[in-house]
């Protein structure tokens, strides 16, 4: 039977996701039930897709950045900045399109800032993006003046966070569209190849005529745009911009999603589909923990333990061991087969 390449390449992620979903269903019997309520799909699975939107969006940009051997620590802070910008624009009376354009523009500017530090000044990505990670939340607080900037009376912006379209919550629609766009652009053009090449060997790529600086600028800009989209969703979801908490620590979840998805932090080969699955694995885990009803003191321990197991299972050492076992089993099968033949 022919298995599609994408399935074969992502087998570990598919198995992990399936196991976690089944565990969730055991903990919470109604986990897989989906019903229509208020003309929208409603159920825990939908919650996973919906709540996973910010990390999924961040993971898309993060994957491209990591593929170039970089990292973007600032995405959580960019979410806070963009949320604050969106809230202050809409409360100052700007229309929804103007607000969204302004918010995305700010995210793009943040991304270009990071990209300029990395590509033009050759600052190490972890340091370059740390600057905005630290400063970003302060900038967001300046915009909101330290309070949660609410926009309860702006249904058009709230719709982005909690509205629905074709029975699906808006955040789900948005991340699926962004993901499809990203995958199409990266794989249908030569961008994916050039990004991977820069991650493997930036000098050789430049010497072969790749415009490495422009591509580096572009991936950080895309990461900024993805963070901006996530920031608007996060703010619209709670009808307010919370500069202190929006996107807090989400950069770590996004990096984790990329790693679980099978993209190496050393750069090079990357898989957007893998990262999306990584993000879904993390969110299924979060939702499962909430549904389980353990005392909250155990939340982080459980999460850390399960992620450790996933990473151990995916580690090159255990992959090699499993390949070994498989080979042995085949050898045994062949042997017993030949013995059967001999017996006849």
């Amino acid at each position: 039977m022919a298995v599609p390449t994408i399935v074969r390449e992502r087998t570990p992620q598919i198995i992990v996701l399936a196991v976690i979903l089944v565990l969730n269903a055991i903990i919470s019997p109604g986990f897989f039930s989906i019903e229509i309520q208020n003309e929208r799909l409603y159920g825990s699975l939908i919650d996973v897709l919906n709540r996973g939107a910010p990390v999924t969006l961040l993971a898309i940009g993060m994957t491209l950045v990591i593929a170039t051997k970089g990292i973007d620590l600032s995405v959580g802070a960019v979410m806070a900045i963009v949320g604050a910008v969106a809230a202050s624009l809409i409360t100052s009376g700007y229309s929804l399109p103007a607000t969204l354009a302004g918010a995305l523009f700010v995210g793009l500017a943040c991304g270009l800032w990071n990209g300029a530090l990395v590509a033009l000044l050759d600052i190490q990505p972890i340091i370059a993006t740390l600057i905005l990670m630290v400063a970003g939340r302060g900038i967001a607080q300046l915009i909101t003046e330290g309070v949660i900037l609410t926009f309860n009376d702006k249904p058009e912006l709230i719709f982005v966070g909690s509205g629905s379209f074709l029975s699906l919550p808006m955040p789900v629609i948005i991340w699926i569209v962004v993901a499809i766009l990203a995958i199409l652009v990266v794989r249908r053009s030569a961008l994916g190849l050039l990004i991977e090449a820069i991650g493997v060997n930036r000098r050789a790529s430049t010497l072969s005529g790749v415009n490495s600086r422009v591509i580096l600028l572009a991936v950080y800009a895309v990461s900024g745009l993805c963070a901006a989209t996530a920031g608007v969703i996060a703010a619209a979801d709670i009808k307010g911009a919370d500069a202190n908490n929006a996107g807090l620590w989400l950069e770590m979840d996004a990096i984790l999603a990329v790693v679980i998805g099978g993209t190496s932090l050393l750069g090079g080969r990357f898989s957007l589909v893998g990262s999306l699955m990584g993000a879904m694995i993390i969110q299924s885990l979060n939702t499962g923990i909430l549904l389980a009803g353990f005392p909250p003191e155990f939340n982080l321990i459980i999460k850390a333990a399960i992620i450790l197991i996933i990473l151990i299972v995916q580690s090159p050492a255990s992959q090699a061991a499993m390949a070994n076992v498989r080979a042995n089993r085949q050898a045994v099968a062949i042997k017993s087969e030949s013995r059967e033949h001999a017996a006849r």
């Binding site: 208020n38 919650d47 330290g146 949660i148 979801d237 909430l290």
Partner: protein, 318 residues
């Protein structure tokens, strides 16, 4: 000509010092402005000082203890009559408090206490977070009467003292009322996003929310997030699920107006009022105040003209 000027200047300076002898000068070292409540505390403190004719010297420490210590030393050097500190951390205050004591300047702690010998400060004005939980619990006990009621709880950040204490007080209040039971309790990190996400999972886990009679949230922000989750699940917050929380930030009063929340316990931003009163009594009548002054934990419900309270609170910089 020069002599005249000098004379005039001296006379002016004397006049100034005489006038300031009547009013008090108080230094206030604030942590920063990390939240709306903090901003409100600052503005209430300034208002209270103005009301009493106190000359308030304000210093923002931007979340750093070293800045606070610097500010206190400069207050001592300026010879203020008293110092208010909202300490950013509990430890490391002994030295600077001793300096203030040697200069015979009374120090009053606001909002939080410190790990230092009690004789180094005059008093501490704080809220009782255990009591806040108890007020919330008492309200719910009275509200539901004898009916059975399953409660879900949104805790604050795991391990933080307000989360521990507000849980403790609430548990104490509902103890002995077997019809009230906490069926789920999970942390929402004091944030709206997490409050909403966790409430969604509570609703899913409890038969679409039909088993839930009331929500107790350790702060209003989580309650505001949870109210959205309840609405999106097709239920009516405030009616299908009662909502009680702590803090009394302006946004919860908007929820009162909309009939979507039922009660909140105020964490008052007015720590300075009681502090100034105690200071006044101490300076005028040499009356030593108690080492701990507990602020009022006032219960608000939709019956308290929420729109008016909202407008007032908004004006404080929340």
């Amino acid at each position: 000509m020069r002599t005249l000027n000098l004379l005039a200047a001296t006379a002016f300076a004397t006049a100034l010092s005489v006038s300031s002898a009547f009013a008090l000068t108080v230094g206030f070292s604030q942590i920063g402005s990390e939240s709306g409540w903090r901003a409100a505390e600052t503005s209430v403190t300034k208002l209270e000082a103005q009301k009493r004719g106190i000359d308030l010297k304000f210093a923002d420490a931007q979340q750093k203890q070293e800045n606070q210590i610097k500010a206190v030393r400069s207050f001592i050097a300026q010879g203020v009559d008293a110092i208010l500190i909202a300490p950013v951390v509990a430890t490391g205050w002994d030295a600077v408090l001793k300096e203030a004591k040697e200069a015979e300047i009374p120090v009053i702690l606001l909002d939080r206490t410190v790990d230092a010998p009690e004789d180094l400060y005059l008093t501490a004005v704080t809220s009782d977070t255990v009591f806040e939980g108890k007020v919330a619990g008492d309200w719910l006990v009275k509200e539901v009467g004898d009916k059975p009621c399953n409660i879900v709880e949104l805790q604050g950040t795991t391990g933080s003292s307000p989360a521990i204490n507000r849980k403790k007080g609430f548990d104490e209040a509902i103890a002995g009322h077997d019809n009230l039971k906490i069926i789920r309790s999970q942390t929402g990190d004091f944030t709206r996003t997490k409050g909403k996400e966790v409430m969604e999972s509570f609703i899913k886990a409890e038969g679409g929310g039909k088993n839930i009679c009331a929500l107790y949230a350790h702060n209003d922000d989580m309650a505001v997030g949870a109210i959205q989750a309840i609405k999106e699940a097709g239920l009516k917050p405030g009616k299908d699920i009662l909502v009680v929380s702590v803090d009394a930030v302006p946004d919860i009063f908007q929820a009162f107006v909309a009939g979507e929340a039922n009660a909140t316990v105020e964490l008052t931003p007015n720590m300075a009022g009681p502090a100034f009163d105690a200071l006044d009594a101490y300076l005028k009548d040499k009356k030593e105040p108690a080492k701990w002054i507990q602020t009022e934990s006032k219960l608000y419900t939709p019956a308290d003209d929420p729109q008016k309270v909202y407008d007032e609170k908004k004006g404080l910089g929340y």
